[in-house]
């Protein structure tokens, strides 16, 4: 511990390689900044965080110093309030305002703008600049991010995030002097699948959320709630915002162990499926459906995209013996295998923070950028951080001096090895990226487990090695081999999972929907699209007398149903989801469902003829051994702070009494919420609620997302109070399931091995309904290796796999192993990898 004197007040702090800005902010002091970002660290460009630093107690003059570039040391003396520092900080704002337009009233950032906040904080109010402002042309950056360059204050955060942190190439600093321009060489969609974070990284309105812009609402008019991303198995924490029944946007909700400061674009922009006009909204008569339940055998299929509570309610309705997992057979078996492998592994699955801190990585069979994108962003940090740490130690560069560390490191990466059939977006940070068929990937894993080869040697030297595999390869052999390698190396083991509650559904230990008996009279499908899961879905459904579908998506199964009960989306429902780590987390209703739409668990309880609160559903669930402790994921509904609930609406929400005055001059009654400690109101506890209940980040003077500083134990650190989520997955439970290396992959003359290809945009069914995501979804194409591509050209080719026949154009993935081709998932219900045939190409070939 060290003592630092700020304006002659002693503060006890832990310097720990931190700079003075981080120390001041962590102490709760207000010091304005722009170019520093807790995840991007310091570069000293904006000069906004100037303080006066004194040599010692005898130094009365001191020296203007940038807090973000100065390491905190014991005995340091500095002043934030020295008039010279105050004046200089105001003059920085004055300079930034030279060219910043006065367009706050029409700017999407207005009301949650870091530049506005910092301007007010410095007290700069008077404009002396009397000349024209410079203007720029804006670019069309695609359907997700809006570009308004005139507002730019050139903090360089965008390019530092986009290029240095996220590995993007197409956004750059262009131009020179006061004409620096942050954009692409030409108009075009940003290539990085993490581009949406620019919206939050940008301290003003240069990069804004284009989807929000189409149905714009000020931050202070958004009703928000703590929520979770439902578009893959990572479990990123989000803050969706709603007004007038329309979900307007999703923002990142900091979770120190998982998503930190960043989301992927699927997670940020997938939300618009909630607003989809095609959503089922008209309910069948529940009494009729209830009548069907006594007609004969009833079975139900739960869903990996439904909450634990919804699945539990279905299980209670149909009985444990009639409860099936609505998952394709191969995926069901693979997820069960991965769960079993995780439970016997000596260490728990790593959080994303632990992934970032790994110092050696083995990635087997998986392209996480397209399966669990946020994990890929974490893995990129794992590749870059160890050399930076080493260079910092050797050259005595403090850990926050980002530019100097990156300069010292150049292109060096940690031991990071990739073995996949197809090229991955992480190849660029890998020491080696091998292109192998899945069975050969598995063989490599087993060889590493046996200590053979240089990869094994490199991983063995690591302090914090990590092995990553997952559902993306579709290969149980790869999962087995990954677990064997991780165990042999003493590494952490991370499996990717496809859906937001894949692991949660797996914990019910239900058989897969394919094993459902054929004599079912009434089939209840909870958020399960049978056509996506089973090749013979149509035949099966035809045999069932009553098909009851509960869903929030307009799927082919909904179209084939005898009765549809429209369910609430994540934004209109409470629920607990279990992520890839086995961490159960709660999401809360952002806004109440309207019309016939009800939360799935409420429909199912209604069919069963019971009325329970959400907490009662969770309590019943917790009685199952696998879910013991699940109630700890979030406080119970009766939780109150100073006797008050947590308001979902900010205290500045406008028009509370006026908006509906055309209907009724009385203030509308707020909808009750018996299921959570949150209220659909602006009234309630105005302080900081516990982390799992935090609906927004706001503090006096801090209207942007960066108010987060005030909610953290220290900047960049965990949120104040109890962490969110509880771990349900046991670890180190016993014997390792036997696994043996498969024989080497043998290409066949008469067939091609079709491998699954996932894409961040389009492979996940919920987000695929969001217009922004749909616009970026690539047209389906079959990827083939160089030789095949040379022979067949651009196609089209006819693909036969199982009973499915598909006609597809070709694209080239030059290093793809001979004898394989990569087929986008979701085009057919056949399990991949699978052998099939490929015919076509130029007629004369």
């Amino acid at each position: 511990m060290a003592t630092i004197y700020i304006d002659n007040e002693p503060y006890t702090v832990e310097p720990n390689g931190r700079n003075l800005l981080e120390v001041c902010l962590s102490l709760g002091l207000d010091l304005p900044y722009f170019c520093w970002h807790p995840a991007l660290k310091s570069v000293g460009a904006c000069r906004q965080c100037a303080v006066i630093l004194f040599r010692d107690e005898n130094d009365t003059r001191g020296r203007l110093t940038m807090a973000c570039m100065t390491a905190a040391r014991d005995g340091m003396r500095l002043s934030l309030t020295d008039p010279r520092a105050v004046a200089f900080r105001a003059s920085i704002i004055e300079w930034l305002m030279v060219n910043h337009p006065h367009d706050c009233p029409v700017c999407d950032e207005g009301g949650e703008c870091h530049l506005q906040d910092m301007t007010v904080m410095t007290g700069h109010v008077r404009r002396d600049y009397r000349f024209d402002k410079r203007t720029h042309r804006n670019q069309n950056l695609g359907p997700l991010v809006n570009h308004e360059m005139n507002r730019c204050i050139a903090c360089y955060r965008c390019v530092r995030y986009y290029r240095d942190y996220a590995g993007g190439r197409d956004l750059q600093a262009l131009g020179w002097h006061d004409h620096v321009y942050f954009g692409r060489m030409e108009d075009g969609t940003l290539e990085s699948p993490f581009s949406g974070n620019l919206v939050e990284v940008c301290p003003t309105g240069v990069f804004t959320d284009k989807t929000l812009g189409r149905h714009y609402t000020r931050k202070w008019d958004l009703q928000t709630a703590p929520s979770l991303c439902v578009h893959c198995g990572v479990g990123c924490n989000t803050m969706p915002g709603e007004r007038y029944g329309l979900l307007r946007r999703v923002q990142n909700r900091f979770h120190h162990e998982i998503n930190g400061y960043f989301l992927c674009d699927r997670g940020r922009y997938g939300y618009e499926f909630v607003n989809d006009a095609a959503r089922p909204r008209v309910a069948a008569d529940p009494d009729t459906v209830r009548g069907w339940l006594s007609e004969g055998r009833v079975a139900g299929a739960g869903s990996p995209r439904a909450s634990l509570e919804a699945n539990a309610a279905l299980r209670a309705l149909v009985g444990a013996e009639n409860f099936y997992a609505g998952v394709a057979p191969a995926e069901h078996a693979l997820v069960a295998l991965m769960r079993a492998l995780l439970e016997v592994h000596p260490t728990p699955p790593p959080s994303l923070r632990e992934v970032e801190e790994a110092d050696a990585v083995l990635l087997l069979g998986e392209d996480p950028t397209h399966t669990t994108p946020r994990l890929a962003l974490a893995l990129r940090q794992a590749a870059l951080r160890p050399p930076m740490a080493a260079a910092g130690a050797t050259l005595k560069i403090p850990p926050f001096d980002d530019a100097a560390l990156r300069e010292a490191v150049q292109d060096a990466t940690a031991p990071f090895f990739i073995a996949t059939p197809q090229a991955t977006a992480l190849d660029g940070v890998a020491m080696q990226a091998l292109r192998l068929a899945p069975d050969d990937v598995a063989r490599l894993g087993y060889a590493i487990a046996a200590g053979e080869g240089e990869i094994a040697a490199a991983l063995r030297n690591a302090q914090r090695p990590l092995v990553v595999a997952g559902f993306g390869s579709g290969s149980p052999a790869v999962a087995q081999a990954a677990a064997a390698a991780a165990r042999a190396l003493g590494a952490r083991l991370c499996f990717t999972l496809p859906a937001c509650n894949s692991l949660g559904l797996a914990l019910f230990d239900a058989p897969g929907v394919a094993d459902m008996p054929r004599d079912v009279k009434t089939l209840i499908l909870l958020e399960t699209d049978l056509f996506r899961l089973l090749p013979d879905a149509e035949a099966r459904l035809r045999k069932v007398k009553h098909v009851v579908v509960l869903d929030c998506l307009a799927t082919p199964t909904v179209a084939a149903a005898h009765a549809v009960l429209p369910t609430a989306t994540f934004a209109e429902a409470d629920g607990t989801l279990v992520n890839y780590e086995g961490r159960a987390q709660r999401h809360f209703r952002v806004f109440p469902a309207t019309g016939d739409v009800r939360e799935a668990w409420q429909w199912l309880d209604a069919l069963r003829g019971v009325t329970r609160t959400f907490d009662e559903v969770t309590a019943a669930l917790a009685a199952l051994p696998a879910f013991a402790g699940v109630e700890g994921a979030a406080p119970r509904a009766e939780f109150r702070l100073l006797g008050q609930p947590v308001p979902r609406q900010p205290h500045r929400t406008s028009g509370r009494t006026a908006v509906t005055a055309n209907v009724d001059v009385h203030e509308p009654t707020t909808p009750p919420d018996p299921d959570s400690p949150l209220a659909f109101s602006m009234e309630g506890y105005q302080g900081h609620p516990p982390a799992p209940l935090t609906p927004r980040f706001w503090a006096p003077g801090w209207n942007s997302q960066q108010a987060l500083n005030k909610f953290q134990q220290e900047v960049g650190g965990p949120l104040v109070g109890r962490p969110t989520g509880v771990h349900l997955l046991p670890v180190n439970t016993g014997a390792v399931p036997a696994g043996t290396p498969p024989p080497p992959f043998q290409p066949r003359a008469d067939a091609v091995l079709f491998l699954p290809a996932h894409h961040i945009f389009g492979s996940e069914p919920l987000s695929a309904r969001a217009p922004g995501i749909a616009a970026l979804t690539p047209a389906p194409a079959l990827a083939v290796g160089a030789a095949l591509y040379a022979r067949l050209g651009g196609g089209p080719v006819e693909v036969r796999v199982g009973d499915a026949v598909l006609t597809l154009p070709l694209r080239e993935d030059p290093a793809l192993p001979v004898g394989t081709a990569v087929l986008p998932v979701g085009l057919c219900a056949e399990a991949l990898p699978a052998w099939g045939t490929l015919t076509g190409g130029p007629r004369d070939a």
Partner: protein
């Protein structure tokens, strides 16, 4: 032995010496001697010579070399020939006049610091120098002064000529390194300094072309000879220059510490007929004005600083009575504003404001508060407030102009015009 080693072999009326002529005149003897010494001994020789960097900052050259850590692996030497300071043309004389001298200096420097690769980073506009330096490098390779196992020793060096894309900012050594790496020419935060983490993050010595050109002579003639070239504390000679309405503008080599009056009156011949002297910037555009009071100042780093300015590049810009001092400032500040890299706020936004204010004054559009704006920038763009020295350098002439020529600035405002037009 000459007392003007840098320019003795330069004959402006003819092409530079060929390799054979250069060798005949004693060229590469310094390198030959250096290779008989250990690298540490070469560094010691240069340290004892009291050679200080000629790019403007005046850092002791031998001390800089000794900051290179004794680590294995790649090290670099970069010759900073990105001479773009307004009014400065001294490196041009050396590179066009006797390129082998600079090449030889670069080789010795690389030997002393253990570099395997060296670059000459040349200003884009110096196309004649480009051709001559390229020829000198090619000749040196052919003669075995460059390449593998130089002169039969274990020392190998690759020397490349890099033509800059043409930015003043690249004169700042860390911006130069970024540019050489193919990045934006933004300066870097220091520490770490280039001797520790420079080009491609490796130990790197960046020396000015004139600095490097002194090195062969120090090695050939010994450090004592070098210190005796001047009478002051800083050894050696210096290229001094003068531009503006002087009788004979030019560049001359004189002992370090030569009085200002000698350069102005004897070398430059005083003011051209019909022009009266008002003040001069002693070391290029980013130094403050000196007046006639300072004519006895010895031109060395310490003395010029005592007189209230900086030696800078040693090439003076003379202001006469027929040139508007505000217009001169406008010209300079427009240059600095254009050359700001755009990295830090005060420089990026402040310099254009200054330039536009001066433009308004010149156009007769001045307002009383404009002088407050200029004063505020002189104060606000001080060293330490900005990321690098560009903006503080730009403020040096403005600050002194606002003091010396206050009345002229005020006349622009009160008369609503430039009195010189």
């Amino acid at each position: 032995m000459t007392d003007r080693p840098l320019t003795a072999l330069i004959k402006p009326e003819r092409a530079p010496l060929s390799l054979a002529e250069y060798e005949h005149a004693g060229g590469y003897a310094g390198l030959r001697r250096a290779l008989t010494l250990t690298p540490a001994e070469v560094t010691t020789e240069v340290t004892k010579s009291t050679l200080r960097g000629r790019g403007g900052a005046g850092f002791p050259t031998g001390n800089k070399w000794s900051l290179v850590p004794a680590v294995d692996g790649r090290k670099y030497v970069v010759v900073n020939a990105d001479e773009m300071e307004p009014g400065t043309m001294k490196d041009r004389l050396l590179l066009e006049g006797n390129p082998h001298q600079t090449v030889e200096g670069a080789i010795i420097t690389a030997y002393a610091v253990g570099a395997q690769t060296a670059y000459i980073f040349l200003r884009w506009g110096y196309q004649l120098a480009e051709a001559r330096v390229a020829q000198a490098i090619a000749d040196a390779y052919a003669a075995g002064y460059l390449g593998e196992r130089i002169l039969g020793t274990d020392f190998s060096l690759q020397l490349y000529l890099h033509m800059s894309a043409g930015r003043y900012m690249c004169g700042e050594e860390t911006a130069l390194l970024n540019a050489l790496e193919g990045k934006r020419a933004n300066p870097r935060s220091k520490p770490p300094f280039p001797p520790v983490s420079g080009l491609f993050g490796r130990p790197t010595i960046v020396n000015n072309a004139e600095t490097v050109s002194n090195v062969p002579h120090i090695l050939r003639n010994g450090w004592e000879w070098f210190t005796k070239l001047s009478s002051g504390a800083d050894g050696g000679t210096k290229l001094f220059g003068a531009s503006g309405r002087v009788r004979t503008p030019g560049v001359w080599e004189r002992p370090m510490g030569t009085p200002l009056r000698e350069i102005f009156a004897d070398c430059a011949g005083g003011m051209a007929p019909g022009y009266a002297f008002r003040a001069l910037l002693p070391g290029g555009a980013s130094t403050g004005f000196l007046t006639e009071d300072a004519f006895d100042t010895p031109l060395d780093f310490t003395s010029v600083e005592k007189a209230g300015s900086r030696l800078g590049t040693g090439t003076m810009i003379v202001l006469d009575d027929k040139t508007c001092p505000v217009g001169m400032q406008y010209s300079l500040q427009r240059f600095f504003a254009r050359e700001s890299c755009g990295w830090c706020t005060p420089c990026r936004e402040g310099l254009p404001w200054v330039a536009r204010t001066l433009e308004a004054l010149e156009a007769g559009d001045g307002e009383a508060r404009d002088l407050d704006v200029l004063d505020a920038h002189v104060h606000g763009l001080a060293m330490g407030n900005t990321f690098c020295a560009l903006a503080p350098g730009a403020m040096a002439p403005l600050e002194s102009a606002l003091k010396l020529f206050r009345a002229d600035f005020e006349r622009h405002i009160s008369e609503k015009r430039c009195p010189w037009t």
